[in-house]
């Protein structure tokens, strides 16, 4: 089963309505939309603006401020590689170069088969066992290019 549903404005309106009573509902809504569709479609902007009595500019500004929210569909699996200092101290720069070359893509890029999108993050809190990664939210400590490959083929299965 695919992880994400195709964009559907009506479904999005339903999700927005479920959360619009919250204090500061914008982020919970955006997270819920991205969790459902894998990204935040531009069509969500007027829907959120209407529901929360905000301007479209405010909603657009919010979406684009945060690294997490994407404007376009991503790969089937999300790889977050930590680029922060504790991982650097364990050679993450070299490791990332190898991983990206194996995957044949760059930061924020998606592999040609659409299997994985690679995002940089700054710290996953696994710093005593660096380098670290998250694959679809599952942590990998003492990351190697091979252990990432294994995790991705497990996720594909």
């Amino acid at each position: 089963m695919p992880r994400f549903e195709p964009w559907d404005g009506q479904r999005a309106s339903g999700i927005i309505a479920e959360h619009s009573h919250l204090e500061g509902a914008t982020l919970p809504i955006l997270h819920a939309l991205q969790e459902t569709f894998g990204y935040v479609d531009a069509g969500a902007v007027p829907l959120i603006a209407d529901a929360l009595n905000l301007s479209r500019a405010e909603v657009h500004g919010c979406i684009t401020f945060y690294h997490d929210f994407r404007a376009h569909p991503a790969g089937r699996h999300e790889v977050k590689l930590c680029r922060a200092e504790a991982c650097q101290a364990m050679g993450s720069d070299r490791l990332h170069a190898e991983i990206l070359s194996r995957l044949g893509t760059g930061w924020h890029g998606t592999t040609s088969d659409g299997n994985a999108t690679v995002e940089p993050v700054y710290c996953l809190g696994l710093c005593s066992n660096a380098p670290a990664a998250l694959v679809d939210g599952e942590p990998i400590a003492r990351l190697t290019a091979d252990s990432l490959e294994a995790a991705l083929s497990e996720a594909r299965a």
């Binding site: 982020l27 690294h67 650097q88 101290a89 700054y122 710290c123 809190g125 003492r142």
Partner: protein
């Protein structure tokens, strides 16, 4: 062998343990025990923070718990055959986990339950001393509770070190029908994981701490603003809050006191700046995480313009112990104006990384050599960064500095959130200094010019230094730029980025002149 006895095993669900295969170990233990006809129950705990030993499996025996680690799924059959269920001998046997020197030497006030209990069980939490702090707070009343926090000397553990009692008092005295308690769980500093460990291993300690704060300042609603990079902590917190509501320790009538406290966990979205409290509040309100100018301070005008107590996870989680044992008992730990214990996080290129909770005053060298056992690579330590990406890089000759807010400041460093990242002698400090600017450029909220423009100019200028283009002149430009950022930035993001940069230049000048002064092409 008798099969009648039920055996309790403990396997961590902490993110590091999971990242090292703890779920596979738990499954192997369960099926291995089943094949042997053993009646086994597995409790998923947090981690004790001895991370080089994870996944660390423990078994309850009549003599107390016995630990084994690091355990891989491949070890499980041999362990069960060796009698793991009775604490039997095996090369991975570590014995009583609390006698492992790394742990035995610590003073765990805040973390004493972490890795021991089932994190989402209210009963287990109470059985290990939980909710005695809140009981004391309800007895003492708001003034008494705030007084205890003030007397304990507790300072904000997020990095700024502001006296918690003063902040609590300000919110308590603020006049409003709606007040909020907000926990800053946007633990973005590299090398820090104490908040994550606590939220995954003993979330009720945070919930109790926030409830104590709410009762003290008169708030009825609270939020935990958690970074999205911590999906395990998010799941654990949600489960704990739901269990807390069911058990009556959260909700309309907290422990029968008649006081109400509603708590919710909210996810950030990958912005480091949202660890800054005013930016966090903007984000919590659903806006871009742009820093607010102070005053007004959040204690008077915070979330949705109401008086709001914002504290870090480690600040809230220190308070149940303080209320239970009294301010004086807490203040007996520490040195100078840094009282109590500091949960130190040892990370990076280190052999024995993990959580070290100990009284303020321990030196960096004691932490890195005494606890850490040197580098993971086995090479000499060259630099340590203390206090996250905005903290200073210290060379060997500063490692005898005690971890104390004032002593670190005197050496132009900071304690921050207590994270220590160790680098061996392969580190290139010019690259680290460049990264500090790059990180600031990526994560700046963009409100003030020194930070927004300064960070980008810093990267460009550092690139020239690295390329050997008039390094001396360009280092002068960087020093000048850093002065502007320090003095002119609105918050610590731009204000402290110069700290890693200038400490790298000051203590490791040889890394900034390697390429030599090459002839420069006309620009």
């Amino acid at each position: 062998m008798s099969t009648a006895m039920s055996i309790t095993l403990y396997v961590p669900r902490d993110a590091v343990a999971l990242g090292l295969g703890a779920n596979r170990v738990a499954r192997a233990l369960f099926s291995g025990a089943e094949r042997r006809g053993l009646d086994v129950s597995i409790v998923r705990t947090g981690s004790r923070g001895l991370f080089w030993l994870e996944p660390m499996v423990e078994v309850a025996t009549p003599e107390g718990r016995v630990a084994y680690g690091p355990v891989t799924p491949a070890d499980v059959d041999a362990l069960l055959d060796a009698g793991l269920a009775e604490g039997g001998e095996h090369p991975l046997r570590l014995g009583d986990p609390e006698k492992i020197p790394f742990l035995a030497r610590q003073q765990r006030l805040t973390f004493h339950r972490c890795g021991v209990i089932d994190p989402v069980s209210v009963d287990d939490y109470k059985a290990h001393g939980g909710y005695r702090g809140l009981e004391a707070a309800l007895r003492l009343g708001p003034e008494g509770t705030v007084g205890e926090v003030r007397e304990s000397g507790l300072r904000g553990r997020g990095g700024a070190g502001f006296p918690a009692g003063i902040k609590w008092n300000t919110v308590m005295l603020a006049q409003s029908h709606h007040k909020y308690v907000v926990c800053n769980a946007d633990e973005g500093d590299s090398g820090t994981f104490a908040d994550r460990m606590m939220m995954e291993g003993d979330p009720f300690n945070l919930i109790e701490g926030m409830t104590i704060a709410a009762v003290a300042v008169g708030a009825t609603r609270g939020y935990i603003y958690l970074r999205s990079e911590y999906p395990q902590a998010f799941a654990t917190l949600k489960e704990a809050i739901a269990n807390g509501i069911a058990a009556g320790v959260l909700g309309d009538d907290v422990m029968g006191s008649g006081k109400s406290f509603h708590l919710e966990v909210r996810l950030g979205a990958g912005a480091y700046i949202c660890g800054e409290e005013t930016s966090l509040l903007e984000s919590l309100e659903g806006k871009r995480g742009i820093v607010r100018a102070k005053p007004p301070i959040p204690a008077l005008k915070g979330f949705l313009g109401q008086p709001t107590l914002v504290n870090n996870v480690m600040t809230f989680t220190a308070t149940p112990w303080i209320l239970e044992h009294g301010a004086k008992a807490y203040a007996d730990y520490g040195m100078g104006r840094s009282l109590g214990t500091l949960p130190i996080q040892l990370a990076g290129n280190v052999k024995h990384g993990g959580l070290i909770e100990t009284a303020f005053g321990i030196t960096l060298r004691e932490v890195i050599e005494g606890y850490g056992g040197g580098t993971f690579s086995g090479r000499p330590v060259r630099a340590v960064q203390v206090g996250g990406p905005l903290g200073a890089y210290f060379p060997d000759h500063l490692l005898d500095t005690p971890l104390d807010y004032e002593a670190m400041a005197a050496k132009k460093g900071l304690v921050g959130h207590g994270g220590i990242v160790v680098f061996d002698d392969t580190v290139d400090m010019a690259k680290q200094a460049r990264f500090a600017f790059e990180f600031c450029a990526t994560e700046s909220c963009g409100k003030c010019t020194p930070c927004r423009i300064g960070a980008t100019r810093g990267v460009e200028t550092m690139d020239k230094v690295i390329a050997g283009i008039s390094p001396e002149k360009n280092l002068t430009v960087i020093a000048d730029l850093c002065e502007v950022m320090t003095d002119g930035s609105l918050c610590a993001m731009g204000g402290l980025t110069p700290m890693p940069v200038m400490s790298a230049i000051t203590h490791f000048p040889e890394d900034f002149s390697r390429a030599g002064d090459l002839p420069v092409a006309a620009e």
